[in-house]
Symmetry: C2
Subunit: 336 residues, 2 copies
DNA sequence: TAATAAAGTGAAAACGTTTTAATAATCCAA
DNA sequence: TTGGATTATTAAAACGTTTTCACTTTATTA
């Protein structure tokens, strides 16, 4: 690969001048500029990013920690991040929390990234002191389980979303509603999981009994599809009576529907089911999944934009933006 | 951030010695080693990867070009890649072809990557001269549309897979089988798309008429779910008679099933449908999708391992490994 | 005991950029 | 015509490592 030195020699100028042409700063005469550009073309010169990074102490790259991309919820957010990132000349790396944890934390500290986006909540929090990592590298969070409000984060009003969904089920006449999802306890700094809180509050507000028999807590983060399926199977084995399931993501809901249909229980005729996230697949399965739509791509955009602001030296704290969600009424809920 | 210089000063040794301790090469006495390690711990020193990369001319990172992660087929392959990559101390960046093309090609040439994995076929080929990029950076391909056999690639016998699937449908008594998928023409260097070829050959072998009325070619790569849905709707509008659909990926198949069910056509009672890829969702929808299972994670492993070999100077050519596939008989196909 | 090998350490060059400071050439006003 | 600004260019330092070479000290062998 040609280096800047080679270009300089071919154009008969100093390396400094080549830099000036490339970065468009300082004075450079028409004639010289032309000669340099000619040489660059001839040698097919592309500036070396590693060297530039070392000198400028910026490497034009961010890291993104996810729960893995098998849940397209993250894939869609990442797509939003990618759009804004590349627009601004940044590349990004993805880490899945399924991978050995210590390793990637160390990689992040090696100075190969200018910023960090964390799309995973509890696990990451258990793993490193989120506040500490932020001192080392600008970071922006999306907490799927509620948030530690002092850290810069993009949020969705998850409690309200789940409250709306539960109310919708209640309005349809359901009283025995299964909560299928992430554990009751949130991450440190959040007493309760906001989705769970929304579910409980909605029931209480309408005077419906809240029973722990109706809680289905999933602990597997990487394969919620299977987890939802299996939890509901267990539930059916136990013989708990219920008429609806409110799931905390679409994959769990789909797994749940599968478990029901394998036992000959029809959705929505016998049991109603709601999802959460509104993945593209949600409206393509039959019956189409009633679910909560989150602005995934916009979340990605805002995460990356907020990170850019921080990388430019701005200090951001707490909730940068809180999105609302929308209940998508489709075919998996029925009045009783 | 502490630098190696700081560590050296604190430990009272030269920076060279610190390097020796860190990289475990050369002689270093017990006593000095202890002092250096102590200093590293005290300063929380982490070696700077950018500087190391500049010196060693290896940056421990690879790039991966995909069609976007919305199709979890790619996500699962990427997961396989990630496992082997991190095991070997490599990080990776993902690029989606939905993003401006020229930009990422340039980024790849900037020396920020030691290797490249291409998971996207035709588009990438139209974009850059695959043979040329390989001269600049070690590259390994997975061609989803057949392959340019001279380039290092990991393959699946796609023709045979589609042949098997079509035969299965034929054996079930279907004669009017819709081909739903990628266009007939493959990438440059491949006359025909292997899946399509498998479909045609299977029909011909059993003396069943091959009709272009039965070809549903999808040109949208990033949202095949919707594309499958819409193509089948168009088909139904045209009033073409058929009893089965053989789709080229699971998402198309799911979109197709949705289109059918919206018109009151039952799967599999009225129409049989097969997918391709065996995504996790395939066995979780109802009816569970009959599809072709590909070893996605293993493909990822092999891709990354082959890339590692190339990065170690080995010259690889053509098909490094060709995987077989397995037909998963589930619930979307029925005898007639 | 002298000669040789091995163990231990450091100085300095190199990787390919950017940037600061210095220098040279040109232009313009007094 | 001279002094000061403006334009144009370069030399050299710096970024944080790795690695080569040279040097000193200690151990081993004949």
């Amino acid at each position: 690969m040609a280096t800047r030195q080679d270009v300089a020699k071919l154009a008969g100028v100093s390396p400094t001048t080549v830099s000036r042409v490339l970065n468009n700063n300082g004075y450079v005469s028409q004639d010289v500029r032309k000669r340099v550009e000619e040489a660059i073309r001839e040698l097919q010169f592309v500036p070396n990013r590693v060297a530039r990074s070392l000198r400028t102490q910026k490497c034009g790259q961010i890291a993104c920690i996810t729960h893995g991309l098998k849940n397209t919820f993250y894939a869609e957010i990442v797509q939003g991040i990618e759009e804004v990132a590349l627009e601004n000349g940044y590349t990004y790396s993805i880490y899945s929390t399924s991978v050995e944890n210590e390793q990637y934390i160390n990689l992040i500290l090696e100075g190969f990234y200018d910023g960090l986006i964390v799309l995973t909540s509890s696990e990451f929090n258990n793993l490193v002191d989120a506040k500490k990592i932020r001192e080392v590298i600008p970071t922006c969070f999306y907490w799927d389980l509620g948030y530690e409000t002092s850290l810069p984060n993009v949020a969705v009003n998850l409690k309200k979303a789940m409250e709306n969904t539960t109310n919708y089920l209640l309005d349809c006449g359901h009283k025995e509603i299964i909560y299928l999802g992430y554990p009751k306890e949130g991450i440190e700094g959040v007493k309760e999981n906001p989705r769970f809180l929304g579910y409980v509050d909605a029931l209480k507000a309408k005077g419906v009994e809240v029973s722990s028999d109706h809680f289905l807590f999933v602990s597997n983060w990487n394969d919620t599809l299977t987890a939802g399926y299996e939890k509901v199977k267990e539930l059916l084995d136990k013989g708990v009576s219920f008429t609806a399931i409110a799931a905390c993501n679409d994959l769990m809901a789909i797994g749940a529907i599968r478990a029901l249909s394998e036992r000959g229980i029809r959705v929505p005729e016998d049991v109603s089911v709601t999802g959460f996230d509104d993945l593209e697949i949600a409206r393509m399965i039959t019956p189409a999944l009633t679910t909560v739509s989150l602005p995934k791509k916009e979340i990605g955009h805002t995460l990356m934009k907020s990170l850019l602001r921080q990388m430019n030296g701005e200090k951001l704290e707490g909730i940068i933006k809180e999105y609302e969600s929308e209940l998508m009424e489709r075919e998996t809920v029925q009045k009783i």
